[in-house]
């Protein structure tokens, strides 16, 4: 269905994913290094600045108009977490030349723009100061406004409680309290470090073949290859369950629960993934069909995992009167897996659904890029995704569910003055 060509350009690994089904070509640059509090906020601010002004296009309107001229090429940046690592990515998506009626070399121009994006911060000087201050303000506003999204805010509060003494509590989008103290020099220093020390990969997806390597070579050059290891966080044992409750003027309470599992192999991580889909990660899961549909204990309910690190999070929107019942109900549903109270048919159905989801990811340029990037991060000899999924059976689901331990319960509920007994 698609063809993957791996090579190296200017000491940077390059992955070319060749498929004819898209109308666009997508380029992505991944920059990965260990996530630490003292870097994560600067990295986010930096990456936002990088996609807005370059040495050639000194104002945002100018850069945006340049991209618009090239048929609305999209330059975006994102930050995410994998294992212990923080990844900053830059993506450029543009229309395949075949649909353009005039003569222009879009891939070449877009690679040149990416080069300017990556290099400009070396030249940040006093002229960028006002721009820097403005970006700080925008970044602060973005993180602040996340607090008005109750679900997001209560998730963050749960993470703060659960990982009080661990780096995991710093979310990949950075730390609000750290923004004020950042200077333009900090951001410049972070950029220098990122370009010198981060593990960097360039990926391209769409109607492209080896010949695009010539354009890709314009993006960046390193004098020697740089490689960073990739590890999950070590497992931390669970002690007494931590509890935290906050109050706000809201009608619907938020119930969040955090769990940890000790996973020692890729196959067990896959079993954890399957368990999550059965427990709360899909519309046919136990939480959705029992807690929400049958018992009407929650309007929203679901679970998600950080597969590499072995964390599972349950998030629910619950009538305040039902908080206790919902909490007990959720734990009972998990207990059913520990007791083997599920049908093989259901397990197979979920595995089938996961295969479908994976195929669907391949229908998106960025999905294909994410899959191929994950391949690169796998250690040698790891069984294929399909082989891992195939091997997950009933016993493994029971084993992994017994390994999942409740760590934290966080509740956001209505103000105390109208709280029910």
């Amino acid at each position: 269905m698609y063809n993957v060509i791996k090579s190296e350009v200017n000491n940077i690994p390059v992955v070319i994913i060749e498929t004819g089904k898209f109308k666009t070509i997508t380029l992505q640059i991944q920059l990965r290094s260990k996530m630490t509090r003292d870097r994560v906020t600067a990295r986010n601010l930096l990456s936002q600045m990088m996609i807005k002004r370059t040495d050639r296009h000194k104002g945002e309107a100018e850069l945006m108009n340049h991209l618009a001229h090239y048929y609305g090429a999209h330059l975006t940046t994102g930050a995410s977490r994998k294992g212990q690592d923080h990844i900053v990515s830059f993506a450029m998506e543009f229309v395949n030349d075949k649909f353009i009626k005039e003569d222009m070399n879009v891939p070449q121009e877009m690679c040149t723009v990416l080069n300017e994006v990556l290099k400009t911060p070396f030249n940040y000087d006093g002229a960028f100061q006002a721009f820097f201050e403005r970006e700080k303000r925008l970044y602060k506003n973005r993180l602040k406004s996340m607090k008005d999204n109750r679900a997001q805010a209560s998730f963050q509060a749960m993470v703060d409680t659960m990982f009080e003494h661990e780096d995991y509590k710093y979310l990949p989008h950075g730390v609000l309290e750290d923004i004020d103290a950042l200077t333009l020099d900090d951001v410049k220093a972070e950029h220098k470090k990122m370009m010198a020390e981060d593990d960097m990969v360039i990926l391209a997806a769409g109607s492209v073949n080896e010949s695009i390597t010539e354009e890709l070579s314009l993006i960046y050059a390193r004098e020697t290859p740089v490689e960073q290891t990739h590890q999950p966080y070590p497992h931390a044992a669970v002690g007494e369950v931590k509890r935290e409750t906050d109050h706000q003027q809201i009608e619907q309470a938020k119930l969040n629960m955090g769990f940890r599992a000790d996973l020692d192999s890729a196959t067990m991580r896959m079993a954890f993934n399957v368990l999550n889909q059965m427990f709360g990660g899909s519309p046919s899961s136990y939480l959705f069909s029992n807690i929400r549909e049958k018992q009407s204990l929650a309007y929203q309910i679901g679970s998600q995992i950080d597969m590499r690190n072995g964390y599972m999070f349950v998030m629910g929107g619950v009538d305040p009167e039902n908080l206790k019942k919902a909490e007990t109900g959720i734990l009972e549903e998990l207990e059913r897996f520990r007791n083997g109270d599920f049908k093989d048919e259901f397990l197979n159905e979920i595995k089938g659904m996961m295969r479908v989801n994976r195929k669907e990811i391949m229908d998106k340029p960025k999905g294909l890029i994410a899959l191929e990037y994950n391949h690169l991060l796998k250690s040698e000899g790891t069984p294929s995704w399909e082989a891992q999924l195939e091997s997950v059976d009933r016993e493994m689901i029971i084993e992994v569910s017994r390994n999942v331990k409740l760590d934290t319960i966080y509740v956001l509920r209505e103000s105390e003055k109208n709280e029910a007994d």
């Binding site: 309107a61 090429a73 543009f94 009608e251």
Partner: protein, 427 residues
């Protein structure tokens, strides 16, 4: 079955109308694993007052959404789980003018399509299941009420519209949905889920001939020949607004402001409406978009941040532009915003050069969207129900002129028809 080929954008569509009135479109997407189906009734939250075969009916607010929820439930359980069993993921949504049921699957497409058609075509309602649903939807309404953006949006609509049901929450209110009975549901189902009021869109890599036959045989077997006459009754809506300014308080961190420009006008034909819709996108992007100097001027002076957004809706029964953002100083923003509108109206702001870049950009975005079968299925439906063709968009884009953009901007961004709503923290 008719084949329509769009050579410039490399797309193929097959169209067929069944004897019972149902229209089916197959959009062929070679190389895609995912197959997508939407089955849509031209029936939404605005259709609360109607006449069918001469008899007039008024139904409680929120009933279209209620009906959508209830269609998944049958005598032998929840159809949702069956989709999962067959490897598909299903969903549904209701807007003010349509109700869509959809699923995506990579395998067993026919089996899932049969399930979807049967689910939507065969109602099952009892007093008990209706009662149970009221509880579930009440929770949904509460959740929306806790969402500051949602509250602000509906408050603003209520300041703009006197009577049009677009101002009512799609889910209805706790009071209105408690009045819903199974008789209401049967009535709305038989009226609006009639095949002549529905469209089926299938997107993916198919054996087109076999698939169309499969749909046709299923539809023929339903034995529906009679096509009812539906007349929707919309209240008369005056051009003027209800309330100029409004302030609401919620437990939020940040102050938000929303501006609405109401633009009632003589009803346009479908093509004129689509032109105006696109022309307004151009105008708003040129004046307030990320390519505009005004945008950065407001950004640099701290009046806006990247929560700033705008949209225009151009529908058969109403049209409006809305602007929203988080700001600590809503009044200063509002004043500068109005000044900008005046400046733009007075000088030669809209130029060929600006428009040409806009056209390239929107064309690029459009082509990128066609990577997504999901986008195609949803947008194809919307455009079709509105009487347009999604795949003719490039021609319309190409055709729009600077004068048109300017005229539409001046007409819509009229501060006499502007409302403002501020949502701020308590105290």
């Amino acid at each position: 079955m008719k084949l329509i080929e769009y050579k410039d954008i490399d797309e193929k569509v097959y169209r067929h109308t069944n004897a019972n009135g149902l229209e089916t479109f197959i959009v062929q997407k070679p190389g895609y694993s995912k197959k997508f189906a939407t089955y849509t009734a031209k029936y939404g939250s605005m259709d609360d007052h109607f006449t069918v075969d001469g008899e007039s009916h008024r139904v409680p607010d929120g009933i279209a959404h209620f009906l959508e929820h209830k269609m998944f439930e049958k005598e032998d359980g929840d159809v949702f789980n069956l989709f999962s069993k067959y490897g598909a993921s299903a969903n549904a949504f209701t807007s003010y003018d349509r109700t869509s049921y959809l699923f995506s699957a990579t395998d067993d497409f026919d089996k899932n399509l049969k399930l979807l058609m049967n689910m939507v075509e065969q109602p099952y309602f009892t007093d008990e299941t209706v009662e149970n649903e009221i509880g579930i939807i009440n929770e949904e309404i509460k959740m929306y009420q806790d969402n500051p953006g949602y509250r602000l949006y509906f408050e603003t609509l209520n300041q703009m519209y006197h009577h049009l049901p677009v101002k009512t929450d799609i889910a209805g209110t706790q009071a209105s949905i408690s009045k819903i009975t199974k008789e209401h549901l049967f009535l709305c189902h038989s009226t609006f889920y009639h095949p002549s009021n529905m469209v089926l869109i299938l997107v993916g890599d198919f054996d087109v001939e076999a698939l169309m036959t499969f749909v046709d045989e299923h539809q023929n077997a339903r034995g529906i020949e009679y096509i009812p006459e539906i007349e929707r009754k919309l209240p008369e809506e005056p051009a003027d607004i209800v309330q100029k300014e409004n302030i609401i308080e919620m437990d939020v961190q940040e102050t938000k402001i929303m501006l609405g420009f109401k633009s009632m006008q003589e009803s346009l034909d479908n093509t004129a409406r689509q032109r105006r819709d696109i022309s307004m996108i151009f105008a708003l992007d040129m004046v307030f978009g990320e390519q505009s100097e005004f945008y950065y001027e407001m950004m640099d002076s701290g009046l806006i941040d990247d929560s700033f957004n705008y949209s225009h809706m151009e529908e058969a029964s109403f049209a409006h532009t809305m602007i929203a953002l988080n700001t600590q100083d809503p009044k200063t923003f509002r004043n500068r915003f109005i000044q900008i509108i005046d400046e733009v109206k007075q000088k030669e702001f809209f130029t060929e050069e600006k428009l040409s870049n806009q056209k390239r950009e929107i064309l690029g975005d459009y082509l990128a969207s066609l990577n997504s079968p999901e986008y195609i299925a949803n947008q194809f439906t919307k455009y079709h129900l509105d009487g347009y063709d999604l795949y003719h968009l490039p021609e319309i884009i190409d055709d729009i002129t600077v004068d048109e953009v300017k005229a539409d901007f001046i007409d819509v961004m009229d501060t006499d028809y502007m409302v403002e709503c501020i949502l701020k923290p308590h105290g």
